[in-house]
Amino acid sequence: MGHAASPSGFRYIGAKRRTKEDPRFVTGRGRYAADVALPGLKHVALVASPHASARIVSIRTDAARALRGIHYVLTGEEFCATTDSLPIGVDAPKVRRWSLAHERVRYAGEWVAAVVADSRALAEDAAELVEVEYEPLPPILDPEQAMVDGSPLVHPAYGSNVILHRNFVWGPVDDQFAAADHQLEFRAVWSRSATVPIETFAVVGQWNPGTEILDIWASIQMPKFPDQTANALRLPGNAVRVHYDIDVGGSYGVKRGLKHTVLVGYLAKRLGMPVRLVEDRLENMRGGDMHGPDRLFDMKVAFDRDGTIRALKIRAVDNVGAYAGRAPFQLGKPVSAICGPYLIPAIAYEPVAVLTNKTPQEAVRGFGQAPTNFALERTMDRVAQFLNMDRVALRKTNLIRKEQFPYTIPSGSTYDSGDYHTVLDKALAAIDYPALQRRRDAARQAGRLAGIGIATCLEPSGGNSAFEPLLNSKNQTTTWMDSCLVRVDLSGSITGIMGTSSSGQGHETLVSTVIGEILERDPMDIRVVHADSLNALPSNSPVGSRMAIMLGGAAAGAARKIKDALIAIAAHNFECAKEDIAYRDGNASLKGVPEKVLTWGQLVEIAHRKFHAMPPDIEPGLQAKFVWEVPTGGGLPTPDGRIQIYPCYAFEAHIVYVEIDPATAAPTIKQYICGHDCGVMINPDIVHGMTYGGIAHGIGAALYEKFTYDDNGQLTSGTFMDYLIPSALEVPPIRIVDHCTPSPLTTFGQKGSGEAGYLGAPAAVANAVNDALALLGVELNELPLSHLAIFETLCKTTLNKRAPNKRPT
């Protein structure tokens, strides 16, 4: 069991095949950062700020240091003097940030001191004895207030709380607004949530004074992580060795513990002891710096009475929290799909990133695209409602048509391929849309609140950082490569080597499938290993749904070099042209003379042992690397802010049916279908799994999850009792309907899908709830559409109905 033929003419690609990774995980043999046990390992506990904004008056550590088993208490004064501040993406060098606060704290939960002890328990005992005197300052939490002159400044040296503010105009926006039959405007709010992996961030560091190498084992998913760790520690890049063979317990973007790693690296080197830091859940939620976008959208749309959308004006204000990092760039990636899957010829976009005294953000699945899709899809529903037009018909009117690809959108990105109408039609047919409408209407007649939600959204994929030079002209990064090394050893066994860690995406399965496809060898016999950062080829890690495209393409490129070498060896020995060699299952024969064959084993032996039988232009030993740049990448933005960002665009059409209990206001998802086109799937089980997971995550963002703060800036949802992650009872059975429009830009026609599902689910669920509430004449545009928010809305409408002049008989 477990294998079935590939449907697409490939040998292994697209077939139902078991993954290489699953067996070690079901037997408890994964190896995560917290599992790394080193002799003499010491443990870190953190002292966190209880204030959202305060001046640090003094820190007394004597009592903590006096405890038995305590090795060190580190404060910001020493740390900031001996390490460099962490990198910042936008052009705001005075917004500086270290692992430990110095002189001032800027959010509740910010680390103030670190204690190292023989055990975590002892370290926590000592952390409680660190005495910090604070002078509290008024916190600023609301981004619009923070933009007003005279508001408290989060970073006084920077002089403003606005860390990014741009105005892009692509196309004749004002002309389109003037010519349109109608206009609408409204505000949509995406509240602060995150991916919240079940594994918190963990890192182990060990300094070897003999080799002068700092070894790091970390639950990491981050480009340029070793370089940035070395820079902050004032070490050469080749003094930091990050071990990528660590299993990462979920990430979806957020596992970027640079501040954790620099702290642990510093302590390990300073003390000459291996040191481990594992966040507890509150540290993760409050001080792990992994929150996602916290964004309000002011949307203006111009459209005609036939439903044609003429132009959009989007103002997006994001509350990025107390420090910046790369987070403001999450306003940049949506430029790559700013009009969604629609033919909208003119768009104005005003992204604003604002500093406040909330926890800093990190990259979250979709890098800002899911909030933007939510705002776009609420816009589509509002237009349909205004025109009293069917929501499916409105979308079909505006969707880019199959024959228009490749299609360049106003902001400069060209969509590679797609067939949006067909995917939507397949989803509608699969759910039996007329029957679904009847079900909804029957439920309404029976007195229940029922609604259907539709969302048609894009998943930009192939992770390219072209939004960096777009939003920071001093940043000219256009390279975003990935790579793979393929080796065939003397025994004939194949090994693929990749230069990054995995957090559940099945990269070992990906690489082995692709190599097997090219070399026509069984992927189950191909081993895939994760190198460390000192012997790895360059990688930019699995961000931006890039690995099927980039790592898959690199593995294919390296395998092709191996195949070419094998063919050259055979041609040399048969004294024929390479074109006269037939390659099959790893064996090379003379075309038309099948008995004249060199087997896989013989070819490998020649390459490794028989230099006398090698062609002169082929290196002995069978190994090949392939490094490549993102397809369509490498360009800088035009002066008017147009840029090709991601190369590939997958499409998803969600249809969801929700009922709301009129008595309790509890929303229940009764049916969920997702039409999905991400080109050629390398491993369908993996793609489907990530899509199901993305939808579940999106349901969380739509209905349950929010990092809430009180007026003093205290996080009030720091546990899983109040930050609600959907369980198997909240996530319904989901049906995925596949469609395949290959990408013309990639090796096998694949597109990325690591962010699939999440990019459309919040929009679809929000549209379904609003379809249900529309019966009452109310609308909710602020996520999450929590049970409480719906309840309060129902109470208000019920009270209105009970007003004296409206009293029901």
Binding site: M1, G2, R18, T19, E21, D22, P23, R24, F25, V26, T27, G28, R29, G30, R31, Y32, A34, D35, A37, L67, R68, A121, T195, V196, P197, I198, E199, T200, D247, V248, G249, G250, S251, Y252, V278, R281, G504, Q505, G506, D685, I686, H688, G689, M690, Y692, G693, I695, A696, H697, T719, F720, M721, I725, S727, A728, L729, V731, P733, I734, G757
Partner: protein, 163 residues
């Protein structure tokens, strides 16, 4: 200040394991840090996520909410104890591989414990019973769909084996 050490002895995955712990040592810390059974994972340390689930005298419990001393004289099964005696994957583990019921693998050991406890008590669960049985175990990767499929497949296979 020196903390008092307590001697404990428990049957862990069929083998008697003894050790000395301070009173505040949690069961999961004893399993992971003392016995090096790192298959059991720590997710929230407040009893919600279920990643640390182990069998305790045949019932699933949260090992982050128990003290190691409470295991004294009892029987504990972790994910490392789920394989067949010959080292092959159990039907449930194999079913998880067949449907790809995991991605990062972090919640998987606890999910297997919850699912095994269900199947031990109810060999033919409905889909709703499966969802209810794993609703105390959070997974952030899969949306649960392929997990539910795996447990249903395991139940079906075990039923076939029994007939």
């Amino acid at each position: 200040m020196t903390e008092t050490l307590y001697g404990i002895s428990a049957e862990v995955n069929g083998t008697v394991r003894a050790g000395q712990v301070v009173a505040r040592t949690s069961l999961v810390d004893w399993l992971r840090e003392h016995l090096h059974l790192t298959g059991t994972h720590v997710g929230c340390e407040h009893g919600v996520c279920g990643a640390c689930s182990v069998m305790f005298d045949g019932e699933p419990v949260r090992s982050c909410l128990m003290y190691a001393v409470q295991a004294n004289g009892h029987r504990v099964t972790t994910v490392e104890g789920l394989q067949r005696p010959d080292g092959q994957l159990s039907v449930l583990q194999d079913s998880f591989c067949e449907t790809h019921a995991l991605q990062c693998g972090y919640c998987t050991p606890g999910m297997l414990i919850a699912a095994q406890a269900l199947l031990d008590a109810n060999p033919r669960p409905t889909e709703h019973e499966i969802r209810e049985a794993i609703s105390g175990n959070l997974c952030r990767c899969t949306g649960y769909q392929q997990i539910v499929e795996a447990i249903a497949l395991a139940a079906q296979r075990m039923g076939e084996d029994a007939t």
